[in-house]
C-alpha cells in the first residue's frame, strides 16, 4: 500500500515536471512551457535581469580583420566603427541580431511562408498564399544574382555570419523573450534570408492590384460607367514628377495587340497587401530655406509594430560615415544621410502585378494553351511544416507567366476559370546593391549611378546634397506596357499579352533642381500624361501630396521646425473636399436641432483631425455610410465583389450634377438621397450614443508583431488621419520621421514610434514613442570617430577578432 502511494507520488512529481516543460493550448491561445518560462534562472526573469547591459563589454566576433567599436547613445542607438566594409557588416549583423533577432527571424519566416512552423494551423493559409504567389521564387532569384556579384556576396555573407555568431552564443536562458513566449528557436541566418526581408518589403509595397475586380466591373457596368467610376487618371491629380519640359529621350514602343474579351468569373486575390502603405518625402532647395542649406524630410507610412520596423544606427569606416534607418535583416541603411548626401523614399505605386487567363487542355489542368501549342504545366512542390500537425504538401502549377495562385486546392471553386500570376516580385532584385552604393554616395551623379540596381519595390527617391542639389526619381524596374496592358485580366494564350520589355533606366521619370525650389512625393500618380510610357495603378494617393505642395509653395524661407510641423500636420484635405461635396447636398431647412448641430460642427470645422475632437469621427462615419449607400448597387450587379471607387472620384461625381445623373441612371440609385440618408444615420448615431472622439474611432496604435495585446499600445493621442500628412490610420502610420539639414556635415533629427530595442524588458523598447507623439525630435549624434564615440556614448562594446 505504502509503495503504491509512493509510486503515485513519484508519478505525480514526474508528470508535473513534464507538464511544466510542455507548450499547451488553451482554446486557440498557446501557453508557453511554464516551468522554463517562469524559472527565474532561465525563463523570462532572466530577460528582465539581462535587460540592462554592462557599460563596457568585450565580445569575440570571429572573422573580423580588426576590432569594431560599438557605442550606444542615451537612446540605445548603436554607432559602429569598423576598419572596412566586411568588418562593418559582420558587426552590423551581430548588433542588429542582438537588438532584433526574433523580429528579423519572423519577418523572414513570414516572407517565406514558414510561420506555421511556429504558430501552428492558424497561419497555414497565409503560408500557402505566400508560397503560391511566388515569394520564394523572387527571393531565390535575388539571392542568386547577389551572390554572383563579387562586391555584394562577401558583404551579405559577413552580415549573415554576424547574425549566426550571435545566435550561437544563445542558451535557452539568453533567448530573446518572444522565443520563450512562443516556445521556438531562432533559425540560422543567410544571404537568402536577407533577400527574404527585402522580398517582404516588395510584397508589402507592390502587393496589390484590382485586375480581377476591374475585369468584372467593366463586364457588368459597360465601358462608360466603368471608366467614370475607376478612371486611370481623374481630373485634377498632381504627379510626383511633373513634366517641366520635353522628356529628353525617344520612348521605346511596344506593339499593341488587338482587343480581346478578358472573360469573367475569376477568384479575386484574397492575400493582398495594404494598398495605402505609403509615405511622404520632400526636399527644399537652399534658395528657399532660412539657412540657405537644402532640407530633406521623409516619413514612411507602414503598419506600426513593436519591435519598430526600423532600427536607427550609424555605420562608420575610415572611408565612409552614414547614419540612417536599417531594416533588421538587411545590411546597410535604407534611408539616411552620410557626410555628403541625404536621401529618403516613399512608395511609387505602379501596376507590376498582372493575371493571365489560362486555357486548359482538359479537366486535369495539366496542359495549357500558349502560342497555339499545348504546354505542360511544371509542378512546384511546397512542404508546409505545421507545428503540432502533419506536414502539408502543396503542389502549385507553374506556367510561362508564373504560378497559378488559386486553384481547386487553394481558395477557389473547382469549376472556375484560373489565372496565372505575373509580378515584378518574381524577378531577381538587386536593390541591396543599390542601397549599399547609396550609403557611400558623394554626389547626385553617385546617386544616379547607384539607382541602376534599384529594381523593386519601386520608390520615389528624394535626394539632397551638401553641394546644394535636390532631386526626385521614380525609381524601379517597370514593365513597358502598351496603353491599358494589365488593367484587366490578360490572355495567357497570346504571347503578345506578355510583358514585352522594361522601361530603360535612362527613361526614368526624374526631376533635378526644379524651378519651384522643391521636390515632393506622397504616393500619388508618378507622372502626368506627357510622360511617354503607360502609367497605371488602381490605388493612388490624392490628398497628402497636394497638402504638401501647397505648404512648400508658400512664399517663405523654410526652417527645420517647419519640416517637423509639416510631418505632424493633422490637416486632412480628404475631409475638406469630402465635406465640400457632401454638405451642399443637404437641405438644411429639413434638419432637426440635432441634425443642425452636426451640420454646423462639420461646416465650421478647420479639417484638422484632432484626436480629442469629434469632427473627424463624424466625417469618417458619414463618408463610410455614403460609400455603403451610394455604391450599394455595385454589390448586386455582379456575383463577385467589385470594391469601391476611391473617395476622390466619389467626391468628384457627387459635386457634379451631370456625373451624378450618369451614376443615378447607370446604377439606379439616388446620390443626393444617399448622402442625406447617410447624414441622418450619423446624426442619429450621435443622438443615441453621444459624441465619439476621433481618438476612439481611429484607435491609433502600435501592435506587437506576435499580436499579444499586452505588448502593444492602443488609443494613442495622435492628431492625424490616413489622408493627412500625419498619416495615422488605426495601426498604420509614420513608421519613423527624419528631417535632415544639409550642413557640412549634415544634421538629422529623427523620431521612431517605439524604440531601438526589440526586447520588451528594455527601456529602449518604447522610450521613443512619447516623443513621436509630439514635436520632440532626437538630434542625431553623427559621431566623427571611435574616439569621439567613447566620449559621448553610454555603453561601449568592443567586437574583437
Amino acid at each position: 500500500m505504502r509503495q503504491i502511494a509512493i509510486a503515485l507520488l513519484l508519478l505525480f512529481v514526474v508528470s508535473l515536471n513534464a507538464l511544466l516543460g510542455t507548450r499547451l493550448m488553451v482554446g486557440d491561445k498557446p501557453i508557453p512551457p511554464l516551468g522554463h518560462f517562469l524559472s527565474p534562472q532561465e525563463g523570462f526573469w532572466a530577460n528582465a535581469l539581462q535587460a540592462d547591459r554592462s557599460p563596457k563589454e568585450r565580445v569575440r566576433l570571429k572573422g573580423l580583420g580588426a576590432a569594431v567599436q560599438v557605442t550606444t547613445d542615451a537612446w540605445g542607438i548603436p554607432h559602429l566603427f569598423a576598419a572596412n566594409d566586411t568588418d562593418l557588416y559582420r558587426a552590423q549583423g551581430y548588433v542588429v541580431a542582438r537588438e532584433r533577432l526574433w523580429q528579423m527571424d519572423m519577418v523572414a519566416r513570414a516572407a517565406e511562408g514558414r510561420l506555421s512552423e511556429v504558430m501552428g494551423a492558424a497561419t497555414v493559409a497565409y503560408d500557402r498564399a505566400q508560397r503560391r504567389k511566388g515569394m520564394t521564387i523572387g527571393a531565390q532569384a535575388s539571392t542568386d544574382v547577389m551572390l554572383a556579384d563579387t562586391l555584394m556576396a562577401p558583404l551579405l555573407k559577413a552580415y549573415a555570419d554576424g547574425v549566426d555568431q550571435y545566435i550561437a552564443t544563445l542558451r535557452y536562458r539568453d533567448l530573446p523573450f518572444e522565443y520563450k513566449l512562443l516556445d521556438h528557436r531562432p533559425a540560422e541566418w543567410s544571404p537568402y534570408r536577407s533577400a527574404l526581408v527585402q522580398q517582404y518589403m516588395v510584397d508589402n509595397l507592390s502587393g496589390w492590384d484590382r485586375d480581377v475586380e476591374d475585369t468584372h466591373a467593366r463586364a457588368a457596368l459597360g465601358e462608360t460607367l466603368f471608366e467614370l467610376l475607376w478612371p486611370v487618371r481623374p481630373p485634377g491629380v498632381v504627379p510626383t514628377v511633373p513634366t517641366d519640359s520635353l522628356w529628353p529621350f525617344e520612348p521605346e514602343t511596344v506593339p499593341v495587340p488587338p482587343g480581346y474579351d478578358p472573360g469573367s468569373g475569376y477568384m479575386a486575390d484574397a492575400y493582398r497587401s495594404d494598398p495605402a502603405n505609403g509615405s511622404n518625402n520632400w526636399a527644399v532647395h537652399g534658395s528657399r530655406t532660412a539657412n540657405g542649406r537644402p532640407l530633406l524630410a521623409n516619413d514612411p507610412h507602414l503598419g506600426l509594430f513593436f519591435p519598430s520596423i526600423w532600427i536607427p544606427m550609424q555605420l562608420t569606416t575610415p572611408e565612409n560615415r552614414v547614419f540612417g534607418f536599417a531594416l533588421p535583416g538587411g545590411p546597410g541603411v535604407v534611408i539616411g544621410h552620410n557626410e555628403h548626401v541625404a536621401w529618403g523614399v516613399t512608395n511609387a505605386p505602379r501596376d507590376t502585378r498582372d493575371w493571365y487567363r489560362i486555357t486548359w487542355k482538359d479537366s486535369t489542368r495539366t496542359a495549357y494553351l500558349y502560342d497555339d501549342k499545348w504546354l505542360p504545366v511544371q509542378w512546384r512542390v511546397e512542404e508546409v511544416r505545421i507545428r503540432g500537425e502533419r506536414t502539408l504538401v502543396d503542389s502549385i502549377r507553374m506556367t510561362v507567366h508564373g504560378p497559378v495562385v488559386y486553384d481547386e486546392r487553394f481558395g477557389d471553386a473547382p469549376h472556375r476559370s484560373q489565372l496565372a500570376f505575373r509580378w515584378m516580385g518574381h524577378e531577381p532584385n538587386r536593390a541591396l546593391k543599390a542601397l549599399y552604393l547609396m550609403n557611400k554616395a558623394r554626389s547626385h551623379a553617385d546617386h544616379v549611378h547607384a539607382m541602376q540596381w534599384f529594381e523593386a519595390p519601386a520608390q520615389n527617391w528624394v535626394f539632397a546634397s551638401t553641394a546644394g542639389d535636390i532631386s526626385m526619381r521614380v525609381q524601379g524596374r517597370f514593365p513597358n506596357k502598351w496603353e491599358g496592358q494589365g488593367r484587366f485580366v490578360l490572355d495567357g494564350a497570346d504571347p503578345a499579352h506578355r510583358w514585352q520589355g522594361f522601361i530603360p533606366f535612362a527613361h526614368t521619370a526624374t526631376q533635378v533642381n526644379p524651378a519651384r525650389g522643391f521636390v515632393s512625393s506622397a504616393n500619388q500618380h508618378s507622372v502626368d500624361e506627357k510622360y511617354p510610357y503607360f502609367f497605371h495603378n488602381a490605388y493612388l494617393e490624392y490628398y497628402r501630396n497636394r497638402t504638401l505642395n501647397d505648404a512648400l509653395s508658400e512664399d517663405k524661407r523654410f526652417t527645420v521646425e517647419d519640416m517637423m510641423r509639416l510631418q505632424h500636420s493633422g490637416l486632412d484635405r480628404q475631409a475638406a473636399e469630402g465635406l465640400a461635396a457632401f454638405l451642399p447636398l443637404i437641405d438644411t431647412t429639413t434638419l432637426d436641432a440635432d441634425g443642425k448641430h452636426v451640420y454646423a460642427l462639420l461646416r465650421d470645422w478647420d479639417h484638422v483631425a484632432r484626436h480629442d475632437g469629434e469632427e473627424r469621427a463624424l466625417y469618417q462615419r458619414w463618408r463610410d455610410a455614403v460609400d455603403s449607400l451610394l455604391w450599394a448597387p455595385l454589390r448586386k450587379v455582379a456575383r463577385q465583389p467589385l470594391g469601391l471607387p476611391v473617395p476622390y472620384n466619389t467626391f468628384r461625381i457627387l459635386a457634379d450634377p451631370e456625373l451624378r445623373n450618369t451614376v443615378a441612371t447607370g446604377l439606379n440609385v439616388d446620390p443626393v438621397a444617399a448622402v442625406r440618408e447617410a447624414f441622418d444615420a450619423v446624426a442619429e448615431r450621435r443622438r443615441t450614443n453621444g459624441p465619439e472622439l476621433w481618438r476612439t474611432l481611429n484607435n491609433a496604435r502600435v501592435t506587437h508583431l506576435s499580436r499579444v495585446p499586452a505588448l502593444g499600445r492602443e488609443e494613442l493621442p495622435v492628431d492625424g488621419a490616413g489622408t493627412a500628412l500625419n498619416a495615422q490610420r488605426g495601426g498604420h502610420g509614420p513608421s519613423m520621421r527624419m528631417v535632415v539639414e544639409l550642413t557640412d556635415p549634415p544634421q538629422a533629427w529623427i523620431q521612431l514610434p517605439g524604440g531601438v530595442s526589440g526586447d520588451p524588458a528594455s527601456r529602449h523598447y518604447d522610450d521613443l514613442l512619447p516623443g513621436w507623439l509630439t514635436l520632440d525630435y532626437i538630434p542625431v549624434q553623427f559621431l566623427r570617430d571611435a574616439k569621439e564615440a567613447r566620449e559621448h556614448g553610454r555603453h561601449s562594446m568592443q567586437l574583437v577578432p
Binding site: 523570462f44 535581469l49 499586452a710
Partner: protein
C-alpha cells in the same frame, strides 16, 4: 526543527547552484535528493521544500523584477491578467510546489 531548517537551506543552496546550469526541473531533483539524504520526515520535508522553493524562485524573481524596474514583469503580467507582483507570486508558488512535492517524494522514497 533543525532538520527542517537544514533541509530548507540545502534545497535553497543546492537548487540555486544546480539551476545555474540545469533547467527548472533541477529544483524538483535537488529537493528529492535532499529529502532522501537529510531524512527530515514527511511533513518537515514538505514544509522545508515549500519554503525553499518559494524563497528561491520568489526571491530571484523579485530581485530580477526590481533590477528591471518591473518593465518586463508588468508586460508579462498583462498577458497573464495580473501585475508584476502577481508574476512574482505565481513564480514563487510554482517554485514552492516543485520543491515541496520533490522533498516530500525524497523523504518517502527513503521509506520504500
Amino acid at each position: 526543527m533543525r532538520s527542517t531548517a537544514l533541509t530548507c537551506i540545502a534545497i535553497l543552496v543546492g537548487a540555486w547552484a544546480v539551476g545555474l546550469w540545469l533547467p527548472y526541473w533541477s529544483l524538483s531533483l535537488v529537493a528529492v535528493l535532499c529529502g532522501i539524504l537529510l531524512k527530515p520526515g514527511a511533513w518537515r520535508a514538505l514544509a522545508a521544500g515549500i519554503v525553499a522553493g518559494a524563497v528561491l524562485w520568489g526571491g530571484l524573481a523579485w530581485q530580477a523584477d526590481a533590477v528591471n524596474d518591473h518593465i518586463l514583469a508588468t508586460r508579462v503580467g498583462g498577458i497573464f491578467g495580473t501585475s508584476a507582483t502577481g508574476m512574482v507570486i505565481i513564480t514563487a508558488a510554482v517554485g514552492a510546489l516543485l520543491a515541496g512535492l520533490g522533498a516530500l517524494l525524497g523523504d518517502r522514497l527513503r521509506r520504500w
